[in-house]
Symmetry: C2
């Protein structure tokens, strides 16, 4: 697999960090999840528990091994040092400074392992006035500007339902770690790379940010309408609603044919996109009235045949019953010994020769403690002693 | 830089693909953007044009070189073949089959360059019933289930304002390419890796997907409220609104102190999160009344001091005036000869030793054609001939 042979010491908890290490694990890295003895990642107890396992935890921790370790104890920190010395990557999502206060500042990390790639994920970054503030996905969505452009102009700003600030930070973290590993192949030297929730979410403002920088005017919310294209948006049909995205002039022309509304071509109010934008309500009303006359399925077939981007707003039951989503294997099942089969999201990255797969179910708390300690050179009596003292 | 020495042949247009190649370029890859002679990427004409350049194009195409190439012409395809043979990565976001029909199927690509990493970004994936459908960010947001959980229960489903389906697909593409490059370091063999808008967006359903798989019940929209935590959400203050995310019991307890509402601890309606969820309206009313009594700044300071995650909903003007965003350099300026300085988003990935930076401004159309052709072995007379024939 792409990341075979890469060992990752994973000190992350909850979501952004575990998503980052899951991405690495899905591509073949050996991820060793460090958890507090007797307690473990709080996500083990979050979401729906079925057959004795949180399906939320199972999804985000597949392909990982679990080692319990008491990092408040000096001997626990010695085990961590040995693990770091024997790994390629360290990833953590503590608040800034916490790892250093445990005795693992950058000087120590370099001394332990000059080739170490050290990834860290924070809420706001490691410097700046908010570095020590608690963060959270919702807060990053609010402070990044994302919410200011989500929802209707006269309505409330909304967060995107999924925790995209967390997940973007995790994705950037995985990308940065892979890039640093590539550099290490050439130089032999390690690197440190940080991602944070706030900057990651700001990074997706793309078009909005470019226009704000160019004009100095903050964009407004436009609901499901496009800021500068009309018609565009969500339209009711006989039995539901359809999202329409005819963003180019040529697509608009094909839309008129598919809707059998060629007369709009002659209408001086609609001759250019600029005019349609000015008369958005009027053209939306005409297009909307036409779409109301048939079912969603009818329009999806007809509009796709005319090469007009369109789709239904699907709920999760509809998403996972969709033949395209099935074809792409975006829902998979994994055996979890003692907990039956767990259904979870599939792999959005499709490698031709070395595909992502579930090699390991999400681990029981500390399920790999002994095996991992043996691999880094601890003897059976030493392991027994560490267990007895509650260090592992 | 992390990706120095990696040459990328970039056949992408518009957003998802150019974002992918921008991420690679920002980390040091040499990206050669192939554009249609005399026309170029449509984004060159999109968004606000200032001093003769689209700031949207400038942002997403920084650090790239531009080579014009007519791929409808046999000689143009020969140039492409030579480029592919001299590069490490090829990335494209045509619809499935288009590149093969140009003469570059996988067999040919392997013959040209056995070590080639080939990344492709599509709307729906390369197989399945919708493979040939036109896609678009908004459509992927609708069909992925993301919109079904964004907005209020009784209101419309909303798309997230930013084009996150496009950008997630680009991010996954960059991650897959870096992972494949790592595998190539060991094996010498290339790989093909695909990302698509629909699967990438489905991949962020995390918690919602896990609970849906476990229960069979599709989640409903909950606006800015948390599905299973109360109080949580957006609350009005004397002069604005504040997002509050006290997701853990301990955080809720600290929130009560910060709000000076210790009496809620004794209220039997609010003793556990389950009870507060049941009595969400009532507790939201009490918390909301308290927050209304002071300004947003007051609460942000007070709640952060109590270690309660909170933040204001900021518009883009407020975001880029925020001292934390300034500290993280999320708005930067780059010189664009002939077009003055262009302000654009900064780099969310923070490498300690090999930081991302703007080495090159976004290229003029075909601005690097001659230099690139020389580098792959074309002589000056050959280049002149190709130019004259309109091939480059």
């Amino acid at each position: 697999m792409p990341l075979s042979g890469i060992r990752v010491v994973d000190l992350t908890r909850v979501l952004a960090g575990p998503f980052c290490s899951m991405l690495l694990a899905d591509m073949g890295a050996e991820v060793i999840k460090i958890e507090i003895p007797g307690e473990g990642d709080t996500v083990r107890r979050a979401g729906v528990i079925r057959d004795g396992i949180s399906w939320y935890f199972a999804a985000f921790n597949r392909n990982k091994r679990s080692l319990t370790l008491n990092l408040r104890h000096e001997e626990g920190r010695e085990v961590l040092a040995k693990l770091i010395a024997n790994s390629e990557v360290l990833v953590e999502n503590f608040r800034p400074g916490v790892l250093a206060r445990m005795g693992f500042d950058e000087t120590r990390l370099k001394a332990l392992n000059p080739g170490l790639v050290y990834g860290n994920i924070t809420g706001f970054g490691e410097t700046g006035p908010y570095r020590d503030r608690p963060s959270f996905d919702f807060i990053a969505q609010a402070m990044s500007g994302l919410m200011s452009v989500t929802g209707e102009k006269d309505g409330l700003p909304f967060r995107a339902g999924p925790p995209i600030a967390d997940l973007l930070a995790g994705l950037y973290g995985a990308l940065g770690i892979c890039a640093a590993l590539l550099a290490r192949e050439k130089s032999g030297r390690g690197e440190k790379v940080g991602a944070n929730l706030l900057s990651s979410t700001i990074s997706i403002l793309g078009f909005f940010a470019a226009n704000y920088f160019a004009t100095g005017e903050a964009p407004e919310r436009t609901g499901n309408d496009h800021a500068i294209v009309a018609p565009y948006g969500l339209f009711r049909t006989k039995d539901g609603a359809v999202a329409l995205a005819p963003a180019q002039e040529a697509t608009y022309q094909r839309l008129l044919d598919a809707l059998q509304l060629p007369q709009l071509r002659e209408d001086p109010d609609f001759r250019t996109n600029a005019l349609r934008l000015k008369n958005r309500e009027k053209i939306n009303r005409i297009v909307g009235a036409r779409l109301l006359m048939e079912t969603s399925d009818y329009w999806i077939a007809r509009l796709n045949a005319a090469n007009v981007p369109c789709g239904q707003v699907k709920n999760l039951a509809e998403v996972f019953a969709d033949p395209q989503v099935e074809d792409q294997e975006m829902a998979i099942e994994a055996d979890h010994p003692g907990h039956g089969k767990v259904r979870m999201l599939g792999f959005p990255l499709k490698f031709r020769d070395r595909p992502c797969r579930v090699r390991l179910p999400a681990p029981d708390l500390g399920g790999d403690t002994e095996a991992v300690l043996e691999e880094i050179g601890y003897s059976a009596p030493e392991i027994a002693r560490l267990k007895e003292k509650g260090i592992v």
